[in-house]
Structures are given as structure tokens and as C-alpha cells.
């Protein structure tokens, strides 16, 4: 029998603290759709994807209604297209992208992720074709997301791929200059990409995964913030150990909700359940912000000294709570700091508390990386590659996932605003050193070797 306090705290989480299921993502393996004939391949993926996903949205809505919790996004992640469509040219890859976009519309999912390549160690023909296709593919579709893994702790950093991606980002921004470089908001460059992320734009289905799988992304920065606020308003002042404990317990509760929903959706669809990804993923809404948590913890703003320590504590407590709640926690599971998608973080960047260097430092302890960062449109390919390489190095050395989702906003400069719309939000453009300069280091090419696994200092 539940007591009043348990009822009320759960109702509060759902009603006032923006607890939601951020994404139910259906992973679909496309390996068995391969063909040398483009029209056969397109018809194979259409048949398989529409067959598996036709009830996804209905089932998610029904399960969401049953539990009184919003399933905000319904998505599909697929096997990396560079692998399953390796036989095709970049022009044909763009056609595949458009087919995927049509499929997304047909089954009414918000996004399809997996226009992806894994090139941390080398670039195969299919990979090169896909990377070449990315700018046009993202500029001419609405619901397709792309990710490319260019580094890993085991392989090092493929600097040739880093440069290719910098060029792709630059071109994608130019092709969508009317919408502030929107295509770049659908493109992530990764180090150590997880195979089961339900969150976009980095979702794809790993090659070690089943034929179809349901992964769930739960969010809840508002729930965590309110739990901290309540604890600090109490009579006994909690120390940081106690605050971390409260975050952990809250993360545990949130994860349990995610697993409940995920398992029920999976059961209804007759598809195995994969993982819960418990990430504090903000939206541009007051009360649904990761940045606000920093202020609750006593910092003037995210970005001021103390922020990295606070984020380290937050991220670790979230992971611990999630790991206790479910045996199948995966994906990114931690705190996201996407600048444009979080009103509070965006404000910190606008007010100068947060610059790109501090963001990079924060990514050494949070779950992803330089996320939704708008930079000047005249940023050179060299400098973009430098930013990506730095971020990859943080992930490679620390054996963690890092990524960049940066937008060089065409025609705009520091202090201007970029508007991406919807959950992607808006952002003040922040400065980059040597923005339009050259960078000989990046142009050396080759692969930065994988790091040593002993002598850890």
C-alpha cells in the first residue's frame, strides 16, 4: 500500500516537474536488406521498416496514456547506412536518405537515426560515399539524423575522417543557410559512439544488436532540480554527499519509469526490450533545464568555477541511480549540456559565463560533448576540425563517449542569434579562437594512435 507522500511525490514528478519519456526508439537491423540494386535496396528497407514500425506511434501513445506519462518522441534507429549500403555512390546515398525521410513520414516517427558511418580506424568506400552525401542528405530531408564515429579509445583518432567531417559540417551549414545551418543540428561526430543510444542525433543500431529492439530514453532534469531544491529548503542542511545521494535516488525513480514504459511498449510490439538511457536531456522550457540544476547547487551560473566539479558529481550520481534501478542501462546515461536546447545554458553562453573552452572542459565529465553550439559562420574547415579533434581527444583518453554537434551559422557572427526552432531552440553565437584561420596540425592527416592503458596519471 502506497502512502500519501509516495502518491504526491510521484504525481508531482509527472505533473509539475516535466518527467517524461523523451524517446522510445525502435532499433531496426537493415543488414538483410542489402542489395547491389538501389531500387531493390530501397524497397527492402521500406518493407522492413514500415512493417516493424507501423504500430510504434499508436502503441507508444496508448502506453503513455495508460500511465499518464508523455512519450514525447517516437523514433527509429537503423544499422549504419555506410555498412548496409556500402555498394552505393554518394549520389545514391542521398536517394537512400530521401527514402528514409519518406519512411519516417509514413510511419509518423519524429526522426530516423543511422545515416551513419564508423571510421575510427579507416574509411571504406561506403563510408566515404556516405560522408560525401551527408550535407545534401541532411539539407534535403527533415527527419533524418546522421552520426559518424571518427575516434575511439581502442583505435585512436582518425584525423582524415575528422577533416572530412569538418568539411561536411561546413557544407551542410551552407546548404541550409536560410535556416541558420539547421542541417548541422542533425549531425553528430563521435568518439566511442554507443550502439544503443535512443537519443538523436546520435542514434544508430549497432552491428551487435538484435534484428529489432526497443530502447528508451528518459529525461528529468526538472525532477532532479526540484529534489535538490526540496532538500536544501529542509531544516538540516545537506552536505554534498547527501545531495549526491538525493540525485541518485531521484535518478533511480526516473529510470524505473523508463523501464516500465519501455518494457510495455516492447511487449505490445512483440520486440525485445534493449536498454533505458537515463539522461538529463533538457528542452527549451523553464523547469526542464540542466543549467538550472547548477544554480540550485549554489553556482551563479553554469560555466563559473565549480561547474566542472558540480557536473562531475551530478553525472556520476545519475549513472549510479540508473544502474541500481535497471540491469539494462545503456546509451549515454548522464547529463546533456546542449547549449541551444536549454534556456539556462543558452543564457549562460549569452552572458559570457560559458565559452567554448569551458564547454569542452565540462564534456570531460558529462555524458556527451559540445552539443548544439552555434559558432561564427566564417569558422574555417581547419578550425572546425580542430574543435572536433580536441573533443575526440577528451573522449579517447578518458574512455568515454564524446561528440560534437556544432553549427557554424552562415552569415552570422559572435553576438548574433541563431534560431533552430522547436526542441532545438535558439542560441547566441559564441566566439572561437582563430575562427577563420588555418591549422597545419589538422592537415597532417593520418591517425592519432590509441592511448596507453597503463601509467594512468
Amino acid at each position: 500500500m502506497l502512502n500519501d507522500r509516495e502518491f504526491i511525490s510521484t504525481l508531482d514528478m509527472l505533473k509539475y516537474e516535466h518527467l517524461d519519456v523523451r524517446a522510445v526508439t525502435l532499433g531496426i537491423n537493415l543488414a538483410d536488406c542489402s542489395s547491389h540494386d538501389l531500387s531493390v535496396f530501397k524497397s527492402n528497407i521500406r518493407n522492413k521498416m514500415t512493417g516493424l514500425a507501423k504500430n510504434l506511434v499508436t502503441v507508444c501513445n496508448r502506453v503513455g496514456d495508460k500511465y499518464g506519462i508523455d512519450v514525447v518522441n517516437k523514433r527509429i534507429s537503423i544499422s549504419p547506412i555506410a555498412v548496409v549500403a556500402a555498394a552505393f555512390s554518394s549520389k545514391q546515398m542521398v536517394e537512400i536518405a530521401r527514402t528514409l525521410d519518406d519512411i519516417a513520414e509514413e510511419v509518423n516517427v519524429d526522426f530516423i537515426g543511422g545515416f551513419s558511418a564508423l571510421v575510427e580506424k579507416g574509411i571504406a568506400n561506403g563510408d566515404r560515399a556516405l560522408i560525401e552525401a551527408i550535407p545534401e542528405a541532411l539539407a534535403t530531408t527533415r527527419r533524418l539524423c546522421s552520426s559518424v564515429n571518427v575516434a575511439s579509445t581502442r583505435a585512436g583518432i582518425n584525423m582524415d575522417a575528422v577533416l572530412l567531417m569538418a568539411e561536411a559540417i561546413k557544407k551542410a551549414a551552407e546548404l541550409t543557410k536560410d535556416s541558420d545551418g539547421l542541417a548541422c543540428a542533425k549531425l553528430c561526430v563521435f568518439c566511442n559512439i554507443p550502439e544503443d543510444v535512443p537519443f538523436m542525433a546520435g542514434a544508430y543500431l549497432g552491428t551487435g544488436e538484435a534484428d529489432a529492439v526497443i530502447n528508451v530514453g528518459v529525461s528529468g532534469p526538472g525532477v532532479v532540480k526540484n529534489a535538490i531544491d526540496r532538500a536544501l529548503a529542509g531544516e538540516t542542511r545537506p552536505d554534498l554527499g547527501r545531495i549526491a545521494e538525493i540525485i541518485k535516488q531521484t535518478a533511480c525513480k526516473v529510470t524505473r519509469v523508463g523501464e516500465l514504459i519501455g518494457r510495455e511498449v516492447a511487449e505490445n510490439l512483440g520486440i525485445p526490450f534493449g536498454v533505458v538511457d537515463l539522461s538529463l536531456a533538457p528542452t527549451p522550457t523553464v523547469g526542464d533545464s540542466v543549467g538550472e540544476i547548477f544554480q540550485s547547487l549554489g553556482l551563479l551560473s553554469i560555466g563559473v568555477p565549480g561547474s566542472t566539479a558540480a557536473l562531475a558529481m551530478l553525472n556520476d550520481a545519475v549513472k549510479k541511480g540508473g544502474a541500481f534501478a535497471s540491469s539494462y542501462v545503456g546509451g549515454l546515461s548522464g547529463a546533456f549540456i546542449p547549449v541551444s536546447e536549454d534556456l539556462n545554458i543558452e543564457e549562460a553562453a549569452r552572458n559570457g559565463y560559458l565559452n567554448i573552452e569551458k564547454l569542452e572542459a565540462l564534456t570531460s565529465v558529462c555524458s556527451v560533448g559540445l552539443d548544439m553550439v552555434a559558432i561564427p559562420g566564417n569558422t574555417s574547415v581547419d578550425t572546425l576540425a580542430g574543435i572536433i579533434a580536441d573533443e575526440m581527444a577528451v573522449g579517447m583518453i578518458n574512455s568515454k563517449t564524446t561528440a560534437t554537434r556544432i553549427i557554424p551559422v552562415p552569415g552570422k557572427n559572435v553576438g548574433d542569434n541563431a534560431h533552430f526552432g522547436g526542441l532545438l531552440g535558439h542560441a547566441a553565437i559564441i566566439g572561437v579562437k582563430n575562427a577563420d584561420g588555418v591549422n597545419r596540425f589538422i592537415r597532417h592527416g593520418g591517425r592519432i594512435p590509441a592511448p596507453i592503458h597503463s601509467l594512468k596519471n
Partner: protein, 184 residues
């Protein structure tokens, strides 16, 4: 042995349960289930007991009146109807209906009528006034057992419509989400 239901209501004070249970013990009755609650200063208890065939309800009532005399308690005893002790074998799912809004007359009447009309049973009901000045913190919680055969969407739409007509915000959700969050 036959089964009886004993209900006791009246002003709460120490010794009511002791009084009831001692009378039953002395009359060789066995308590099979018992529950009590209090609202402000009022006590209400309900007890399911097995009593010897030789003991009549009137005799037991007399013993109770005597054992609990002077406490201003209302005691009723009735034979348990075997049919009601085995309710129809309907398969149900537990749901929680919660209403938020200013306290006013008719909240329980309106909401419980919709629930009754749908053939849904209320298994627990409580009012939580966290209130103070904030009317949104007046919360009613109905625990209900919804037969799997009914159209849940229509039922919740009906509930929400009736609730909003009297200024309430209403949620209905499967009880498992509360268990998932609060129970390991």
C-alpha cells in the same frame, strides 16, 4: 463457525480495538481480518470475524455494547453474505485517479458517479489537503479497479470532462507507475 462483519464508529480514544478484540476473544471468536482508520477525531473500524454457530448476532451485539459501554460508540454486527464475500470473478487492472483543484461541494459525488456508471469499483479513496492557500494542492486520490473489458479511453475522457466542469484537473494512470517509482 459463521462469519460476521462488525463495524464500530465513534470518537477516537485509546482502547477501542482492545475492547472489540477482547469481547471477541472471550466469546471464542476468531478475527479473520481487521482494518481501522481515523478522520480528524473520529474512529471507524471494520472487522471480519468467525463466530461459533451457538453464538447469535444479538448475543454478540449485547456483549459488545457491554464491553464498550460508556465510550459513545456505534456498533453494528451483521452476518456476512457469502455471495458478496466472493465478488464476481471480473479481471481488473488497478488505476489511480487523482484530482487537483479547489475544495468544493460535490467533488467526490461527481467523480465517484462517473466511476460507478462505468461499473468500476473504488477500492480506496482519500483526500489530501496539502493546501494552505494554494487550491491546486487539494488532492483527491481514488484507487480504482478497472475491468479490462471497458473502454479506457472513453472512461478517462468522461472523467476528465466531468472534472473540468467543476474546475478540477484530473489524471488517471495505471497504479504500476507508482509502484515502479516507489518500490524496489
Amino acid at each position: 463457525m459463521k462469519k460476521v462483519i462488525i463495524t464500530v464508529t465513534g470518537p477516537d480514544k485509546p482502547g477501542i480495538i482492545a475492547g472489540v478484540s477482547n469481547v471477541l476473544y472471550n466469546q471464542h471468536c476468531n478475527i479473520e481480518n481487521i482494518s481501522q482508520t481515523t478522520l480528524q477525531s473520529e474512529f471507524a473500524g471494520i472487522c471480519l470475524a468467525a463466530i461459533p454457530e451457538s453464538l447469535s448476532i444479538q448475543e454478540l451485539q449485547a456483549h459488545m455494547e457491554q464491553g464498550l459501554s460508556g465510550q459513545n460508540l456505534q456498533i453494528t454486527i451483521k452476518t456476512m453474505d457469502e455471495e458478496t464475500s466472493n465478488p464476481a470473478n471480473t479481471i481488473t487492472e488497478p488505476f489511480i485517479v487523482s484530482t487537483f483543484g479547489p475544495d468544493r461541494k460535490g467533488i467526490v459525488a461527481v467523480i465517484s458517479q462517473v466511476i460507478a456508471d462505468a461499473g468500476v469499483n473504488i477500492s480506496n479513496l482519500k483526500a489530501v489537503f496539502q493546501g494552505g492557500d494554494n487550491p491546486d494542492r487539494n488532492i483527491m486520490i481514488f484507487e480504482i479497479d478497472v475491468p479490462v473489458s471497458i473502454d479506457l479511453q472513453r472512461f478517462s475522457a468522461e472523467l476528465s470532462e466531468k472534472a473540468s466542469a467543476i474546475g478540477l484537473d484530473l489524471n488517471i494512470q495505471h497504479k504500476n507507475i507508482f509502484d515502479a517509482v516507489n518500490r524496489i
